[in-house]
Symmetry: D2
């Protein structure tokens, strides 16, 4: 039984809380949030205790691990606290908005040797995991090209976008991680181009709402990512891997199985309305993996270093957006 505390009781925090409470291998006792009310609500719903002093969380006598789902600017601090306390940590992305500070944090945690895992939950999507297993089995041969589609239904509020770090760091970063993970190869160069078509005002702070990104892998294989903030038809994700002797895809999901036939038309169910409906089961699966790793003593994966590398790709992509050329990826400390 792993005693896991929760840091952060916002929307994603409540999702994690429900999974912690329902997990048969987890004892979920403590919740912390800067907003005491939010922490208290979450604690009450699941029979846990809300603590007001963050030190109570990082108490190795009471907790084995911490799940960090607090606001982005506090991730690095909580990672360091966990390292200092010698408790394991499962952390939402990113490690830190600044790549250098993120790299320092990873080095700090690594030196203290606590088990640490990035919550890149899409790796634990049932279909993506099967796609990855298919690629690893050699059934499609050597990876030649990966296509990733990541499209959100509606533009987030302008206030959010202004501080989000931009489409590459905020939205595409999950798919940079998927590209590395699926191919098992590092990214050597990135080309990105984008536009502000849904909301021209975001161009004022240098952001895009639609972008086409091309990654070149060390093997010579290529990756195409298309990413959009606004579809008009719901949330849309898909992955396709072309190999040297076959192809495998995880196709877009439909939100139901009903088809109506009329003259000339078959009207089927469309996409899920939002990202949460689509990827909700991945949160529990991510937690499962983390708990299994703690139980067996295996290092959990993806590691903080994976988080750092995805972030380094996002930095190169952001540079390419303005340079108009393929940019080399520089991995910190590599």
């Amino acid at each position: 039984m792993q005693r896991i505390a929760l840091v952060g009781a916002g929307f994603i925090g409540t999702v994690h809380a429900a999974n912690l409470a329902a997990h048969p291998g987890v004892q979920f006792d403590l919740v912390y949030d800067v907003d005491e009310h939010r922490a208290g609500d979450v604690a009450r719903r699941h029979g846990a205790v809300a603590v007001t002093d963050v030190e109570q969380i990082y108490d190795p006598d009471r907790v084995d691990a911490v799940l960090v789902a607090s606001s982005t600017d506090t991730h690095a601090e909580h990672l360091r606290r966990a390292a200092d306390a010698g408790v394991a940590v499962l952390c939402e992305k990113p490690i830190d908005r600044e790549l250098d500070r993120a790299a320092d944090t990873v080095a700090y945690v690594r030196a203290r040797q606590v088990p640490a895992m990035m919550a890149f939950n899409r790796r634990f999507d049932r279909d993506y995991a099967e796609l990855k297993a298919t690629v690893d089995s050699g059934a499609v041969g050597e990876v030649a090209l990966i296509q990733l589609t990541s499209r959100g239904p509606e533009l987030p509020p302008l206030d959010y976008l202004r501080v989000s770090g931009g489409q590459m760091r905020d939205q595409a970063v999950h798919f940079f991680d998927l590209a590395r993970w699926i191919s098992g190869a590092d990214v050597v160069a990135v080309f990105a181009t984008g536009s502000a078509l849904a909301e021209p005002r975001i161009a004022e702070f240098g952001d895009t709402d639609i972008a086409a990104v091309t990654l070149r892998l060390a093997t010579g294989a290529l990756v195409q990512i298309d990413t959009s903030r606004r579809t008009g038809y719901g949330y849309d994700e898909r992955i396709e891997v072309l190999g040297s002797n076959g192809m495998v895809e995880a196709h877009r999901h439909r939100a139901g199985a009903v088809i109506r036939y009329t003259i000339g038309r078959a009207i089927e169910k469309g996409m899920h309305p939002g990202w949460f409906e689509r990827i909700k089961p991945t949160y529990a699966a991510t937690l499962d993996h983390f708990v299994d790793a703690l139980d067996t003593g295996e290092p959990p994966s993806p590691s903080l270093d994976d988080g750092l590398r995805a972030q380094a790709i996002a930095e190169a992509a952001a540079r390419s957006l303005t340079s108009g050329r393929s940019e080399p990826v520089q991995y910190p400390g590599a």
Copy 2:
């Protein structure tokens, strides 16, 4: 908040227990089972109390409703107890193996006016509910033909089959209910023919493991049901409704979204391995409806009478299996 007690802590009882515990509008305090151990296990898992005296369940000061998931031969008794105690009841099918006794039970409960609902959970399947709404909207015109497929992956044990009441009463009865519900019309005649192909020994006690059933509705519309105990490829359900100006189907489910392409072939995910993976979400949805009905004071649906009518169709189907002719359906008390 509805205080709902659980009667029966077998496999389906544990499914109901988890849903009762997770439902925000339900207070789940009491569990009863003839096997005290089973009751205790379920109670412990969800912070409820196992009672050993069934009278403690039927106490209107402590419970508002009872969910009956005990063995088939005790359903009628629990329905009567609930009626006597004046508590609402959600009951697994059938009411009673004997149609006459079932009819008496329904009359008994009706006279005491407690809210009572049959747990025909397939009505609450997301896709079937949408299919029904499409039919009701008039989008496909008047119902002309319904096709229902119900195929289990593997033959249940012979010992179970021997006491199951036969394929019509045990397996097809859910689909007899769906046919009535979707069409909004009663069944006037049934033709059924079947074989024992997977297990010839079940022919010795007059049962079938594969059957083709044809229902004729009062409107002249037709229903085809194919039902099999053993597929060799997993659990398979589908429904198709042909109307006077269109068609709507709830197609078979696939257990994932990954496709591998090789020379000449696209290898996709197949069916769910068993019925439970396929219809698991319907149990929570059935409970939702029951709680909503209690909250609003509306009569819950499907009613016990719906249960009785599905059973009457099963009786006629069983007669047809041996008579070789279309048999009229006699509804008790109608």
Copy 3:
């Protein structure tokens, strides 16, 4: 090179004419029709000659085979003429409206040993041929249940229906043949029930426009056929074969590959508008097989006997429509 003459220059005659003209192994010189104009038009389009005396067709010095696509009541006569002349014959169904006369005709042709083939063209549908090959390979085990759907888009004119022989003999007969062919087993009993929902007036002459038919095979396997004269959404055919360890289906065709996604909906292409768009390629494939058989000296298949047997099933189905019971199939001469 086979010299094949065409008898009948109506709509299907023109389809056959184009295929005869395009076939590299066929010399297409002669056309006959009771309507000289129609014969002349077809002949001109393909560089053939229209003959006015039917005797000129049955001249073994000029023709090796005759393709009979004339009106139903003349099929038997042309079959006998071909037999007398010693030329091969490919004949549209039925052999004769009356089963006894059909049986006499088959015996007559058989005695004279000319190669003769029924144009049950659905056997040559690309998908159905692959489905049959899959069944024959044993990949789904022993056949347990076959589902056949046959639905036309619009009710034919009442004047046609009045002389068509009824839905069993006119529409379902193709699917009776498919059931025998796919299963490799003969039909021992038939239950059929139907209604006149699209056009109540056809009930006056004992016909149906929607019917559910159940066949029992000699092996104990079952066949369900649903057949409708009017769908409101185009032409719809599909086949599904459940075996003892798997299932194979030839799914309904869509008329295109374009999907539009909007909020909650994916709007796809529907069915083909009519039967001809769906099964057009089967005519050329049927002719291919006939020509191959003539070239190699193998007996062409399906035989006239296959035609007779499908017709005998239709007779039993028609009896069942009024008797309300499962009717045994009596094969003439068997």
Copy 4:
């Protein structure tokens, strides 16, 4: 009736010949090829005459139009001959391997005002035409992103690739045209990156066998093209258009409709083996459009200028492959 002569009797010439012969609005009398035997074979098969002197083709007393399907290096010459003779022309791509010479040729033909059309046959694919109509209808809003997939089954012979002009000019050019046509916008910049993964030797002459291309349109919309010479699973094409309020796709084709279900798997038909099986019907549809244009006097489309513009994009793409940056597209004469 348009009298159309054929220039070129290679593989594609024979496809065009069959379509010319079968077209009810075309009189197909003359064939020319540098190889008299090939011309003779084609002529014989369709009742036409093979001419040995190319001048006989460009005789306005005998022909209204010429279909040019000869070897690439002779296209420009035949376009000029047609212009001189005042006969219309339907020409396979490209106009000329050299963009400047191609531009001169277009100017030459334009000055003489003969109807001239590029045989970009994918515009006439049934699904692509419907996708284009959907976009034009406004049903998905303003075009934001187009995804095009173009993947051949097997690497062509090295000798062919050496003189093909490279993957951008030879394979991707069709999709550059589709991007312009679907969006109705011109391409302003191109980024391309590629590798020689299937056949490293082609890197020696600067070619790629897999490439990812990103186009930026004048509207700010983006286009992603992935193109591969070798899939290992057959021929694969698809198009997806994301608009400001919806999406439309023309999905990949399957070569049949049969599905076999086994434990955990649904084994479906895969892709067509080669490009010809997939796009065969587009040749007849292209000819239809050309003949319609001649009949009505409307200018046929796509024009030679469309051919020139697709070629200019290919030139920029080829430059980008080596420069590693987004290259502006320079349209000749624009």
